[in-house]
């Protein structure tokens, strides 16, 4: 036990260490690239100065300038070029570039000591970008030494370098103008004093600079230290937000599992069918749907939308959903349920959230529907093939006003009638131009459906119509859809589907789900075998390859049509068309046999038809086969 704890600790420490070094390394790489650019820029400036000197704008010895410039430019461009070549990804680049840069700066300083006092500060300012104290300190020390040497060199060799700034004349000095220029005369007269008195010049020229440099260097080292701390705290922030993201994911799956999501929902009832989906805009949402049997013949359907989005809405949603279901199961009338739930929700509702909701309770024997509305969008009814919005009293929202009394209405459904519930995430879905999907589009989409369409297909058709309209615009609101079909089930024509976690562990559940369906439709042994083999292949494909970085879902569905079945698998993973995979050579000898591609080949061989489609970011693979000979 203790050993395990220790091991875990070590593992965590190592992970932490790798992560930290990774971030620092990434920082070093970016810094390298920046420094390479600065080196190139400096080379360009030197080139410009050289050109200016030749053009007579500057007064530096041209031969000397030419030599020092070409040397500096070459010295700068080599490490910069190497850095760009390796894309900054070498440990030694930093040392090489900083050394070169410091030397080149010192060289320039030696050349034009008095003209370029600021150049001393350049190397350390560049070194700060590495956010490393040792790098900064060593650059500072090296610069100070080199700069001292450059000053000394500049003074001592003043004549050779012809830097007039170092020349001083003591009172009473005489300047003798010969045939040469004034400059030559000045240099000639001063030369003697000047070489011997360099310590005085060092004290006057170098020391003040060194002190100023000390201040700059101190600030730079501090900035580097702070920069490194900032990297660490940023990392801590990232880790914190990762943790929050993990918790949100968990919350999201808790919420998803709170809604009834196993379809067919009531396999034991043959009089109706129901299907629903909820797609939150954020990880968790405030929309919900619910359906449950109150007793053997009363089915309750609820759809609701909590104001706001995200976690606050989700928490309120959980309370509202639980209260509505609890009160309904007491056998109260829908209006009474809403009135009581409203009072309870009003208590302590300091966040002033509210819920719009619609609930209907259907007597599945005689079709009597009692419904109540709390400010929710009116459902669309498909009565006897006619599509229209249900006329219902709007009612006030839940959690809005304590003591509000809801009133209910009723109507009678005939066999074949359908109800379509939705939240404003559907009607107020916006496209990129800011246009709303709207109630008109919704109703005309529903009008365009086949009269005998099943719940699942109807919902999918609406969803796809909305997605087509919205296109690439971001989803702003939670989107919930529920379809209810009061048509007695036709065993010959049925669609069932279920969503699973895409992992190998779920394989047996997936297989059991499909085998059950096949058995219920009296598929023969041979077909069952062929279909399950193909199903395993396609499901395992998704679980292994569709979601390389995360855990995803796979929806498996069956559409029965007399003695045929269509099995479809839907995932939102990376696009992959299995049908494009090349067939293996099944006539090859044992040695040449490849194992790859065999699975998909089997699927293609044993099915009557296979289709692949990429739609709305989903891979949809469909296969069809006869289930009886």
């Amino acid at each position: 036990m203790l050993v395990k704890v220790k091991k875990n600790l070590i593992k965590r420490f190592e992970e932490e260490f790798i992560r930290t070094t990774d971030t620092l390394w990434e920082n070093e790489v970016t810094a390298n690239l920046l420094v390479a650019r600065i080196l190139i820029g400096t080379a360009m400036i030197i080139l410009a100065v050289l050109v200016a000197d030749y053009a007579g704008i500057m007064d530096i010895d041209q031969t000397f300038m030419f030599r020092i410039s070409t040397a500096s430019i070459t010295a700068l461009l080599i490490p910069a070029g190497l850095c760009l070549y390796f894309k900054g990804r070498k440990k030694w680049l930093k040392i090489m570039m900083l050394l070169t840069y410091t030397f080149v700066c010192a060289g320039i300083e030696a050349t034009m000591t008095y003209n370029v006092p600021l150049i001393m500060a350049c190397p350390i300012i560049v070194a700060v970008r590495y956010y490393s104290r040792p790098v900064c300190v060593s650059t500072a020390v090296l610069t100070a030494l080199l700069s001292g040497f450059a000053s000394y060199y500049g003074i001592k060799m003043g004549k050779g370098l012809k830097d007039l700034n170092y020349l001083q004349f003591f009172p009473g000095s005489l300047l003798e103008l010969g045939n040469g220029s004034l400059k030559d005369a000045v240099l000639n007269s001063a030369a003697a004093d000047y070489a011997s008195s360099w310590p005085i010049y060092m004290e006057r020229a170098y020391l003040p600079k060194l002190l100023m440099y000390w201040m700059i260097a101190t600030v730079c080292v501090e900035i580097a230290r702070r920069g490194r701390l900032a990297i660490f705290s940023q990392q801590a922030e990232t880790r914190k937000s990762e943790k929050i993201a993990t918790e949100l994911n968990l919350a999201s799956s808790i919420q998803a599992n709170m809604l009834p999501n196993i379809f067919p929902a009531f396999p034991e009832y043959n009089d109706f069918d129901i299907y629903a989906t909820m797609t939150p805009a954020k990880a968790v949402g405030g929309d919900f749907y619910d359906f449950f049997m109150i007793d053997e013949k009363h089915l309750a359907m609820v759809i609701a939308d909590v104001s706001g989005k995200g976690i606050p809405a989700a928490m309120f949603m959980v309370i509202a959903k639980t209260l509505i279901k609890d009160h309904s199961q007491l056998g109260l009338s829908p209006a009474e349920v809403f009135s009581r739930v409203n009072d309870l929700l009003c208590e302590g509702n300091e966040a002033e959230l509210f819920v719009t909701a619609w609930m209907g309770v259907l007597n599945i024997d005689n079709g009597e529907l009692v419904y109540v509305n709390a400010g929710h969008n009116p459902p669309v009814m498909m009565l006897d093939g006619e599509v229209s919005y249900l006329k219902c009293r709007p009612g006030f929202v839940l959690a809005g006003m304590k003591g509000y009394k809801f009133s209910q209405q009723n109507m009678t459904l005939q066999k074949g009638d359908k109800i379509f519930l939705y939240t404003d995430g559907a009607t107020e879905a916006k496209n990129i131009d800011g246009e709303l999907y709207g109630e008109e589009r919704l109703i005309s989409c529903l009008k365009g459906l086949k009269k005998d369409i099943g719940c699942t297909e109807a919902l999918r058709a609406v969803r796809s119509d909305i997605d087509t309209f919205v296109k690439d615009a971001e989803q702003f609101d939670d989107l919930t859809l529920l379809a209810f079909d009061y048509t007695p089930k036709n065993k010959d024509k049925e669609t069932v589907e279920r969503t699973f976690d895409a992992t190998d562990e779920k394989l047996h559940e997936v297989m059991a789900f499909v085998e059950e369906g096949l058995e219920a439709h009296e598929a023969d042994m041979k077909s069952t075998m062929a279909i399950t083999v193909a199903l395993e292949e396609m499901f395992v494909n998704i679980s292994h390859y569709a979601y390389p970085d995360s855990m995803g879902k796979a929806t498996v569905g069956m559409r029965f049509d007399h003695d045929e079945v269509e099995i479809y698998l839907i995932d939102s993973g990376i696009p992959f068309n299995p049908l494009e995979k090349e067939d293996p050579d099944i006539k090859a000898s044992i040695e040449e046999r490849e194992v790859g591609g065999l699975g998909i080949f089997m699927v293609k061989q044993s099915m009557d038809e296979c289709r692949y489609e990429r739609r709305n970011g989903q891979n949809i693979f469909t296969m069809r086969r006869k289930i009886r000979q």
């Binding site: 190998d504 562990e505 394989l507 047996h508 297989m511 042994m525 041979k526 069952t528 075998m529 062929a530 399950t532 083999v533 395993e536 292949e537 395992v540 099944i586 006539k587 000898s589 044992i590 040695e591 046999r593 194992v595 065999l598 699975g599 080949f601 089997m602 061989q605 044993s606």
Partner: protein
Amino acid sequence: MEIIKTVNENVTDITLVGRLDTTTAPDLEKELKELFEQGTSQLSLNFEQLDYISSAGLRVLLFAQKSLSENGKMTIRNVKPEIMEVFDITGFIDILTIE
């Protein structure tokens, strides 16, 4: 899936019970690898109680057949018609010795 192993003289007899699929194929593969390491060269597989085989299972069979093709022998017996169908469409029927 259950793997029942018996050794008669130098023939190793393996009876598979249940399903040979993605989740169970690695078990069989591990078992076979151990046998081959111990020098088993005569393998007899009894499929009488094998109800299901997927491509993951076929991969293991191919692995075994390849391992034994030079200096060994693998035979499969009592194959159910549904599984025979799978062997047929994948061309495995030509490379396996089925009795």
